[in-house]
């Protein structure tokens, strides 16, 4: 644990559009430096991706990029981040992924030259390693093409490197379904953290070699999986809220390895990272409804520096292609926030208050994202002497916040949810902070066919 103090100590300073350590990109976006930009995400419609269909794939991304940037220009946008999150085959055959980056980058450059529209590409290779079952995080054959895409893609114009890495997922999936918090924390603070160290070391190498920025990681496969399951009423919202907090430490490891942000959108560790490390972050909420329904639609924007739609297929809506439509929606959301930034800190605080109050009383997942909660929880996290302690302390604080809000009648919870407050608290309190002890406690409870511990350096 490198961070032992907060970069932002006061909830009032945890606000959209500004952060202590803004990031300036090649084409001049200043992220976190006084303006919120849209981050557009998109994916292919239902088509086959293979080396044979490379041209067709590239054509889709060409059309997406042109449509979005043309609209951004017409809306007088001050800048846009485009995230290229690859699908499997684009990583497996890095040549496809690189081809897409290249094409997108040409279009970005054209709009920059011709219309002074500054844009940047976030390159997010999907974490292929999970394709082996059990996953082989370090020794599997999938690591190579993935790292190749990072490197070649960075050279081709992918100026912000990110990933949703999956270390620990082979344990977390079942842990979520069984609502087993002990195992979930093991997947994050032990497996996740170890894998993050391994992986971000490599990504830092690539970034150093190619001179691009490291955006960051996100626990999408963990925190957002929990949220989606809770949204389907499969698991308690309280469990999902605490699980969300449990993901922070593993994502923080990327920052320890030099990631400067903007952190990625699709987990919500961002606000905690911003509080702890002062880096700019990307967030997604109501305008990502295209990708998943959400209980944190407005509050998610409370301290964002980029505002994203998470993902939308390239299909036609009445107005035009869906990515263009979502670019417009994001742009207007950003305009509103930027008007407040322009007016000054008070205006920002007032708008933020509306965003926060909009959601916090309905769902504990929203509550833990309120700037005050984020600061309180982050303070606990940096107290931890190791990742496990940091993780558990953060989780315990979030249980406390939820409990208190419920008792003060500030949070709606039904009876099915309620019983989980005490259950979670006692489960968390039983977790040993010593890593070896924790391993000894949890490993015997795991299905040994599902995990290769030596892939995490555990012997």
């Amino acid at each position: 644990m490198k961070y032992r103090d907060l970069a932002i100590k006061n909830a009032n300073d945890l606000i959209f559009g500004n952060t202590p350590h803004p990031v300036t990109t090649k084409r001049g976006l200043v992220i976190g430096g006084g303006r919120v930009y849209p981050e557009l995400n998109f994916t292919l419609p239902s088509i086959e991706v293979s080396p044979d269909s490379k041209e067709q794939v590239i054509e889709h991304y060409r059309q997406i990029t042109t449509g979005a940037l043309e609209r951004a220009k017409d809306l007088y946008s001050q800048g846009v981040v485009l995230e290229l999150e690859t699908v499997i085959e684009m990583t497996k055959y890095p040549d496809i992924g690189v081809g897409v980056v290249k094409t997108m980058n040409e279009i970005c450059e054209e709009y920059y030259q011709k219309h002074q529209l500054p844009t940047e590409i976030r390159l997010t290779p999907n974490d292929l390693r999970e394709f082996d079952r059990p996953p082989r995080q370090r020794t599997g054959a999938y690591l190579d093409p993935m790292m190749q895409l990072f490197e070649e893609g960075a050279k081709a114009g992918g100026n912000l490197l990110s990933i949703e890495s999956t270390g620990g997922k082979e344990i977390s999936d079942d842990a979520l379904m069984m609502c087993n918090m002990t195992q979930f924390i093991f997947s994050q603070a032990v497996l996740g953290v170890r894998d993050m160290h391994f992986l971000w070391d490599k990504i830092a190498d690539v970034a150093g070699k190619t001179g691009v920025l490291m955006g960051g990681d996100t626990a999408c496969g963990f925190g957002n999986t929990a949220m989606v399951l809770a949204e389907k009423k499969y698991i308690p919202k309280i469990f999902a809220a605490v699980a969300r907090v449990a993901t922070v430490v593993r994502t923080l490891v990327a920052v320890e390895h030099g990631a400067t942000g903007p952190d990625k959108d699709c987990g919500y560790e961002g606000p905690f990272l911003k509080a702890i490390a002062g880096i700019p972050i990307s967030m997604e909420g109501k305008t990502a409804a295209c990708a998943h329904l959400s209980p944190v639609g407005n509050i998610a924007a409370a301290c964002c520096d980029l505002w994203s739609n998470e993902s939308v297929q390239n299909i036609k809506l009445l107005a035009g292609f869906a990515p263009t439509v979502y670019l417009e929606q994001l742009e207007y959301d950003c305009r509103l926030m930027n008007q407040a930034v322009h007016k000054g800190h008070d205006a920002c605080t007032q708008l933020q208050e509306l965003m926060v109050n909009s959601d916090i009383s309905y769902d504990p997942q929203a509550l833990v994202l309120a700037p005050e909660s984020v600061i309180e929880i982050s303070k606990e996290i940096v107290k931890g002497n190791n990742y496990i302690e940091a993780c558990v302390l953060g989780c315990l604080k979030s249980v406390e916040i939820i409990d208190k809000a419920y008792k003060q009648d500030k949070l709606t919870l039904n009876d099915m949810e309620l019983t989980w407050i005490d259950m979670l608290r006692s489960e968390l309190e039983a977790i040993p902070f010593n890593e070896e002890k924790f391993i000894d406690l949890v490993v015997p409870t795991l299905d040994q066919n599902k995990i290769l511990l030596n892939e995490y350096g555990i012997t």
Partner: protein, 223 residues
């Protein structure tokens, strides 16, 4: 109905696996599904009666509660575990024909797709409803499905896909299965899939959730 069958149903419904299992707290130390099924069999109650009136009936209740959002997944999974444990006692009677399973359900997530949470839920619910389930895991190829179908003649097949890109694999796999084994009924699911797509790729049924998968299977069986 025999008292003990009611007790078995209760254990399955509330996830009381065996005497040692800590859930539900209010049944601590009492016999669970494991012990009760054993003694029911010992006392000469027909295994088919235990299975259908006790176990499957309870699982149906569980399924309905789940569909109505009255319980969470872990509770359903506890019930499924109690069911599995109890089933071990019933299994021998399958061989001798005194108990009939509904059929075999071969399920997997299609090639290129690693999402399995949804598929796992489906397979557990189907199993709990008296089917023999063969779970091929994720990233499953057409060949692998076809191989397995050969091993379980008359089986039903379930395909899951969560990515729009792997919907294409799903279409292919349906095509290849139908070519190799035209009578095999295929049921599909997963977030991006819908009824329209089901018709387009000529699968036999679509369901948006596990409970629906069970009813679709029962319907296909009856047809």
């Amino acid at each position: 109905m025999e008292k003990i069958i009611e007790q078995i149903a209760h254990c399955i419904e509330f996830g009381k696996i065996d005497k040692n299992s800590p859930f539900p707290p209010d049944m601590k130390g009492q016999d669970g599904a494991d012990e009760l099924v054993k003694s029911a069999l010992d006392s000469g109650i027909k295994p088919s009666e235990i299975l259908s009136d006790g176990m499957i009936a309870a699982m149906e209740k569980v399924g309905n509660k789940f569909t109505q959002n009255k319980i969470f997944v872990p509770q359903m999974l506890m019930s499924a575990k109690a069911m599995s444990k109890a089933m071990l006692h019933i299994k021998p009677y399958f061989q001798d024909g005194s108990v009939q399973q509904k059929g075999t359900f071969v399920i997997g997530t299609v090639s290129g797709d690693l999402h399995d949470i949804g598929k796992n839920l489906v397979s557990m619910m189907v199993e709990g409803n008296g089917w023999n389930v063969v779970d091929l895991g994720v990233d499953v190829s057409a060949e692998s499905f076809i191989e397995t179908i050969k091993q379980y003649p008359g089986c039903f097949v379930g395909l899951s896909a969560l990515l729009t890109t792997t919907m294409v694999s799903m279409e292919k796999i349906v095509g290849e299965i139908k070519a190799a084994s035209p009578d095999t009924k295929i049921i599909i699911g997963g977030a991006p899939v819908n009824q329209e797509f089901c018709e387009k790729i000529s699968a036999d049924a679509y369901s948006p959730d596990p409970q629906g998968a069970v009813s679709s299977l029962n319907k296909l069986l009856a047809a």
